[in-house]
Symmetry: C2
Subunit: 338 residues, 2 copies
Amino acid sequence: MIEHLAILGATGAVGREACGLVEERGLRFGRLSLLGSARTAGARITVAGETIEVAEAGKSGFDGVTHAIFSAGAERSQRFAPIALGAGAVIVDNSSAFRMDAGVPLVIPEINPDDLRHHEGIIANPNCSALIMDVVTWPLHRVNRLRRIVVSTYQAASGAGAAAMQELVDQSRAVLRGERPVPNVFPHPIAFNLFSHDSSIGPDGYNAEERKIIQETRKIFHEPDLAISATCIRVPVRRAHSESINLTFERPITPEEAREILAAAPGIRVVDDAESNRFPMPLEAEGRDEVLVGRIRQDASQPDGRGLGLFACGDQLRKGAALNAIQILELLAEAESE
Amino acid sequence: MIEHLAILGATGAVGREACGLVEERGLRFGRLSLLGSARTAGARITVAGETIEVAEAGKSGFDGVTHAIFSAGAERSQRFAPIALGAGAVIVDNSSAFRMDAGVPLVIPEINPDDLRHHEGIIANPNCSALIMDVVTWPLHRVNRLRRIVVSTYQAASGAGAAAMQELVDQSRAVLRGERPVPNVFPHPIAFNLFSHDSSIGPDGYNAEERKIIQETRKIFHEPDLAISATCIRVPVRRAHSESINLTFERPITPEEAREILAAAPGIRVVDDAESNRFPMPLEAEGRDEVLVGRIRQDASQPDGRGLGLFACGDQLRKGAALNAIQILELLAEAESE
């Protein structure tokens, strides 16, 4: 049982999802604090029948807190981590602030729960696109080592927060009225459009989101040299990310073998009905815990049988963010009670 | 000069675009017939200042026709090709009906114009996704032979015709009103969703659209063994297709080299501004003749320097269909006047 849980960024898209999941999963806790900025403080959120007022995080917000979920962006994670750690809290951080730090485990419970054993107070929750890809590739990698991953993403608006989701709605309305979409949260129109993920481009030509997929997957898999190439694209979808994944394995693998492995793996639902043309779709991944995977086929461009193609969809706010964080909390609580 | 041009499927999305392009490009012709089905006959379309009534194709629709653009689907192409050929017409067929036939050249004027020299009355216009990919990969392939292509598409509604474009609008309105989207043209909701291309899945797990990309590219490039893998996804965008393209070459190639080659190639516009995060987008490809290409970068997963990543967008109705057909007609008219 968690003595005193705090959720920082409680009014955000991921924070609200975390509040819902605390209730839905019956997470046992003594006390719950919801924390936000000066702007969001005073908002009221009902969790497990109790209406809680969002408090300004500030200095005293973390007093007595034993466990905290941070989902207020990298900058606020940097600012509040020392305060929460000082108050004795263990932090599950949803931002990118500490993910690649040596002393910070980066954990997907279905993949590397043992990495939770050694931490210095901060556990990082992976990037949503990395998470969704990793959940469906890890079970295959365990059986037949991955040599190369080429992924192209179809990322929902939710990854940029609640305001971005609203922007998709507002812009879509404007376009349907015959007006020009006015970008505000995103740098480019999102309604009826798509664009390369707007994170900064490095000297190698990869953007920050793509680098996260590459580096975080290597850390989570404990495969520092795994060859990965990623192209991250934002699409006019609300809250589930999709990914087209092309794989190269050490040894030949058949689609039947892969389907069997994936069907037995945790956190995955195989949706692969060629006859009725039914495969993973964001609309069907929304609100679900599992990552959907389908289009499992032998890669036509690797005639040696070592290649597979997959298509996956996962709810960006659930497994892609809040659910994974709650699962980590559950594991922490379990370990502490042992 | 073309003596008597007919456009079959004139009221469809591609047919209307072709009518516009006939005027825009100043195609010289003696007479223009617009042909449709019993349902669309009687519609009036203005081309180059002249309002023309759509006639039912039937048996006499092709009388005297010297050149025809077919854009009414594979079934109607099959039905009307013998009639048009019997009337002495040369057909530029936008459907998939004859593309892989041995005696039928499959032509992209920027790539294989010489294939037009030998035909038996039918010239096939390639699949839109193949076209867009081929236009941006061919100039590189000419300089440094391609070994492997892995492509994931982001395909607009227009590829399924005018009714599909309307369905995207209607469903989006419904969803924004809080209603459930009702699929009609597409088998799955398209508004705020995406799904695997709904063409039939073969025993190899690839759908018909993916097979077209693979087989047509090999035919157009005259590279029957080129390794290609494709994943085709429909997205809620109106009329420009996007493609994430991962390439492997025979020899090392740098992004600078590729950028230079692409900037000098016909039918392409390089949009690759990392500093301001400006890359190809469907909204900016709409209504343009050129295929936009950017995100040109060394592939991180091929450390031998033989890999590149690209992202391309092209107007599905223009270069992806009607424009390429008109360009073929222009080449035919030019050759005949020699």
